[in-house]
Symmetry: C2
Subunit: 151 residues, 2 copies
């Protein structure tokens, strides 16, 4: 935890941004809830618990800043809100997601499954891939089991 904060602090400084207490509080929330996919509002409410004086606009600006630094990735699962997802330590690419259309759960796939596909896109379409977004929509394990039981 402290180690990653230190690391993010360095990244901020490298771009001559400061690690203010508000920014640190925001990063801590993201680290604590690494598995989740929080909206700006969600983050705001969680940060407020520990730093009640923070403003919503600051959280928005901080998340925007962290996106710019590739510390978080901004993603949209089709409900109206943007969600902010901490990039896994050292990952070059954004991880993938499995969204269940029954229960709404979101599972993560950390393995990069797109290396072959990216090679094809590069070679056959001449497109230089820098990053990707891959989300599967379907039925999660739990909901599959529930369906079988119900029949």
């Amino acid at each position: 935890m402290e180690h990653r904060i230190e690391q993010i602090k360095k990244q901020l400084h490298a771009h001559s941004y400061k690690l203010t207490p508000q920014r640190e509080a925001t990063v801590r929330v993201l680290l604590e809830r690494e598995e989740d996919h929080l909206s700006a509002e969600d983050v705001y409410l969680l940060v407020k618990e520990k730093s009640p004086e923070i403003g919503l606009a600051t959280v928005y600006r901080t998340l925007e800043l962290l996106s710019e630094l590739k510390v978080v990735d901004k993603i949209n699962f089709g409900d109206g809100v943007s969600r902010y997802d901490l990039r896994k330590e050292g990952a070059k690419h954004f991880h993938h997601h499995l969204v269940c259309i029954e229960c709404g759960s979101v599972e993560e796939i950390v393995n990069d499954l797109l290396e072959d596909v990216e090679r094809i896109v590069q070679n056959e379409w001449g497109f230089e891939v820098k990053d990707h977004r891959l989300t599967f929509h379907g039925i999660c394990k739990q909901c599959q089991a529930a369906t079988v039981k119900a029949t």
Copy 2:
């Protein structure tokens, strides 16, 4: 064109929805601009040219309905708006996108490049894939050429 409208009419009736003139006008715009990625507002303005009496809310509702019927796919490229993309005739899955981070262009890949990946997701994660969203972010051919020339 007429053929696809007829087809969509049948799909609507199958769910006991009507094909109103407003809906037909909306579908025609989507068919005419099949390659584009229009926002609801974009669609509204284009429909208005031919049917000036239509309301924005109707366009929103129609697009929502067409999404539900899988005639269009709703997608978000990270700017604040949802875009509506006509599904290719007969396609089981949503096609892929190449978004250029330099010029903002959006190219389409109609081939399904994810069959192997979906097999892996199914077998190793036990997730039953129904659909997917795949977008690559990178540098398009034109911008690559421009960069080389500039150096």
